[in-house]
Assembly symmetry: C2
Homo-oligomer: 343 residues x 2
């Protein structure tokens, strides 16, 4: 081992992945695309690619069982992986589930977790085909691998965006983050006085965005029906700003994103203001919305523009032009990602 | 949640899996076989099946970093999954790696872990195509998903053993378990007096069996060359007894296993005796040898019997005859699995 000691907190998740996967080349003919997109791509016969995505949720890092019901956790663990398959324009068909759990959990607690997993399988039309259950020294860890399929000519990578394409996002943003803020606040209130009941009335929407996020498989079907094939796509897991930067880097393009175009639900905005937070910042950096961010050709503008499921939030530029966020006053600032820093 | 509280330690890993996967049915046409074999089977085109296996190693449960070098750990995490693909008579081609790690690990430590992963990829001709790196509250967790391929007519399930088939195991057994005993003993010595150097001289073989187990992909190739297709197969991860019971249960057969036929290396036997352990018990219940246990037709007897890579350890009987272990005195006792109990 080298004598240098680099703190992993310093370089962050993407820095770590870059270092660890540096110099990896693909040798098997069936390995089509490896690290660097929402899912790996492997050959699946004459007409199809298989897509493989994996994501792990760790107690105390990605969730807190004080306010995350086990059933919701199971559902979410599946949804976030299905979302990665959607981001390749594919359909998830199988999952495997790995659980590491300490003996403070009962069998009934695990059944509750699995009830959520099974519900998500039903919702997304996915089969649970395997997995692994083991003990942990402390806490709960749940890892899901999703396997999906896409016709070869329909696959969408992060890297396909071209100058003049339009940048589009589905649904609305920032809700999941505000749901988390609300839950954290109520947890603190509960800690200081367990007799006070949580005050979550009227916050159903953002609570659901945090606790029961949905993979936008409906959007993938819908785009097919509309005859629109995105030129590049990624799901919004770490925050819009971070995903825009990933997409632009992979596609080797720049872009302009407009503050006034960001889709933010009124309930999200109101809660943000209640917390003295800027709603746009929540939308840009909040993460966990699991909406789809994609680029389309100018020729698809009419179809997408008139559709309430989509918001055109910017346009793609030449890479030399950089990645800019244009605020409501018209000033352009370089877009930076805060995203999630777990380390 | 139900008001009953069942301790997960009481019902063990297989009991948990049975309960949690109870009632799961496969709905997608591409899902060929789900929970209950070494790997899940999904459709991979006109001629091939894809095989998916996942296994997670948890610090303090599956490994102890006091004596498991990180590079070996990375290698082992890949090998155990490749072994599952071998057990379906397939060839592993891709892996994804999920790591959860606390900030007590440096980037250089993770690079050491990845050096082992990459070495295993080279050895097994597998591409690292994706993964996930996240933080943990404490300790290290490494989850690997392996994806393999097998021609449709060549797949081997656990369930294909028939009465009169012969029960065969590759290599030798019990070594990995004795390696672990030795490491545990030296750890205790070190704890009581850190000045004493570990005494592992002459134990290279069993140390290597524990620290750097190999998936028997060579055996799979070799059987193909010999023209022998096993009727059923499983890898020896939890211990021979446990795997024999799995194979017999899946195939709905009984069997007789002969103590005197168990392949045990002289170094394993000597170390076992040194620890006052019965070598056969170590071979039966030790686990982690990652050899292949399989059944063959009587017509393949000649080919296998004369081959030093294989030991014929018993024969398959009718299910009503039960699963028996015949000791050296000729007494038959019902075979029971101890295997690993992590909970």
């Amino acid at each position: 081992m080298s004598e240098t000691r680099t703190d992993i907190g310093e370089i962050g998740e993407f820095g770590i992945i870059d270092r660890l996967t540096n110099g990896i080349s693909l040798k098997n003919e069936t390995s089509i695309f490896g690290v660097g997109d929402d899912a790996a791509v492997i050959d699946g016969g004459p007409d199809e690619f298989l897509l493989v995505s994996t994501d792990t949720l760790v107690e105390g890092v990605h969730f807190n069982l004080m306010y995350m019901p086990l059933k919701h956790l199971g559902y979410k663990a599946v949804a976030v992986n299905v979302s990665d398959i959607c981001a390749m324009n594919g359909k998830a068909e199988q999952i495997t589930v790995s659980i590491a759990v300490s003996n403070r959990f009962s069998l009934e607690a695990l059944e509750e977790l699995y009830a959520g997993i099974k519900l998500a399988c039903l919702e997304y039309d996915v089969d649970l085909v395997g997995g692994d259950t083991t003990s942990s020294v402390s806490g709960l860890m749940i890892g899901v691998t999703a396997i999906g399929r896409v016709k070869k000519e329909e696959i969408v990578y992060r890297s396909g965006a071209k100058e003049f394409d339009l940048l589009v996002v589905s649904g609305d943003l920032g809700g999941a983050y505000m749901g988390l803020q609300l839950l954290e606040r109520e947890k603190d209130v509960f800690k200081s006085n367990p007799m006070i009941q949580p005050d979550l009335d009227g916050h159903d929407y953002i609570m659901q965005r945090q606790l029961k996020p949905e993979a936008r498989h409906d959007i993938i079907k819908y785009l097919k029906e509309l005859g629109v094939k995105p030129t590049a796509m990624i799901d919004v897991s770490d925050g819009l700003a971070s995903e825009i930067l990933h997409l632009c880097k992979s596609s080797n393009v720049g872009c302009h994103v407009y503050d006034e175009k960001l889709p933010i639900d009124a309930k999200t905005s109101m809660t943000a203001l209640d917390f003295n937070l800027d709603p746009s910042t929540c939308a840009l950096n909040g993460g966990e919305d699991y909406e789809l961010l994609f680029t389309i050709k100018q020729s698809d503008f009419e179809i997408i523009q008139s559709n309430p499921n989509f918001s055109i939030i910017g346009h793609i530029t030449n890479v030399e032009d950089g990645v800019y966020f244009v605020d409501k006053s018209g000033s352009a600032v370089t877009l930076k990602a805060q995203g999630w820093k777990h380390f």
